[in-house]
């Protein structure tokens, strides 16, 4: 049994839908490559701050994808944890006086992905969906679609994001 199956078995009965979704969104057969699927799932588990999900997903991912994908997923989630807060503030307040100030925050890893650039953007988009920043989602969605991914792929990534966030909550049920 995979690490994620073992963990999913702990999800309580009232949250069974989440458990079943977890199995289906993480399985092969959708529009995403293995790299995209595991990268998105790990980035979302990090963004949802669920350590057990993160550990289980990384353990299973290692059977299918290289370490660069895991690193990119973690980097994307951490940087979006920062940027979602910063840019959400700018977008919500809408004062040019803030928008004109330089952020003066390092985010160099965004342009130096260890694996695919467009996949990295997809992880960033999925993490932004979990953390919840409208403009960040909008802008990263544009970038991945312009980078050649299909709306079907974006949609599948968001289904993973939603399920991972649900699982993160379901696993915290006492």
């Amino acid at each position: 049994m995979s690490a994620i199956d073992l963990l999913a078995a702990e999800i309580v009965e009232p949250a069974r839908d989440i458990k079943l979704n977890l199995q289906s969104v993480l399985g092969a057969g959708g529009s995403l490559t293995a790299e995209q699927r595991w990268g998105v799932a790990i980035a979302c588990a990090v963004a949802a701050r669920n350590v057990r999900l993160q550990v289980a997903l990384i353990a299973d991912a290692r059977n299918e994808v290289g370490p660069a994908v895991v690193e990119d997923a973690v980097a994307a989630a951490a940087i979006m944890g920062m940027n979602n807060v910063y840019y959400r503030f700018r977008h919500h307040i809408e004062k040019p006086s803030y928008a004109d100030r330089p952020a003066r925050l390092r985010m160099n890893r965004l342009v130096k992905p260890a694996a695919s650039k467009v996949d990295f953007e997809l992880y960033a988009l999925a993490a932004s969906a979990v953390i919840g920043c409208d403009w960040c989602m909008r802008s990263h969605e544009r970038v991945v679609v312009e980078g050649g991914l299909t709306e079907e792929q974006v949609h599948d990534a968001i289904r993973i994001a939603a399920t991972i966030n649900g699982a993160a909550i379901a696993l915290e049920v006492a």
Binding site: Y87, R106, R142
Partner: protein, 179 residues
């Protein structure tokens, strides 16, 4: 004197890198470690008073520079054996984590334009050089004024900090190219 936007001159210099027997010296060149930033700082003379304090200060912050993908290089016009002797002699310099380069022929200080006209030694200059070998920061003080390493780290941070996230996209602007 070379300044912002100029290319840092090519160099290939002997350096004191360690106290370990047989591993004391290496040749350090501008072509080592491509893709990295360089922080190159000069001092006038080994075995003087201000120098070990600020050289040790660069040593203490070496990890901060490494984390910023920058390689620290210290240079004077003394020869590599003098560098080694100074390292052995001064407790603050024993564990120095970066190489001490010897610009014995004065090629580098001359090319940079930082050779002190009266003393014939290096001025107390600090350069930050980007991965494309372009000088992005320079500061030079008179011979006996010490340097603030925190300021060098701050400048390096500022030079490396750019809003690279598509989140910074404003309506009507083109997006970053994801390909």
């Amino acid at each position: 004197m070379l300044t912002i936007g100029d290319r840092f001159p090519a160099f290939k210099l002997k350096a004191a890198v360690s106290l370990e027997k047989g591993k004391e010296f290496e040749v350090v060149s501008n072509e080592d470690q491509p893709g990295k930033w360089k922080v190159v700082f000069f001092w006038p003379k080994d075995f003087t008073f201000i120098c070990p304090t600020e050289i040790a200060a660069f040593g203490k912050r070496n990890r901060d520079f490494e984390e910023r993908d920058a390689r620290v290089l210290g240079v004077s016009t003394d020869n590599e054996y003098v560098h080694l002797a100074w390292r052995k002699n001064h407790p603050d310099l024993k564990d120095l984590p970066f190489p001490m380069l010897s610009d014995l022929k004065h090629d580098l200080v001359t090319a940079l334009g930082i050779k002190h006209p009266g003393e014939g030694v290096a001025m107390r200059a600090t350069y930050i050089v980007d991965p494309d070998n372009v000088i992005r920061f320079v500061s030079v003080t008179d011979l006996d004024v010490g340097r603030n390493v925190d300021e060098v780290v701050r400048v390096l941070d500022a030079l490396q900090t750019d809003e690279l996230c598509p989140c910074n996209w404003h309506k009507g602007e083109p997006t970053l190219n994801a390909a």
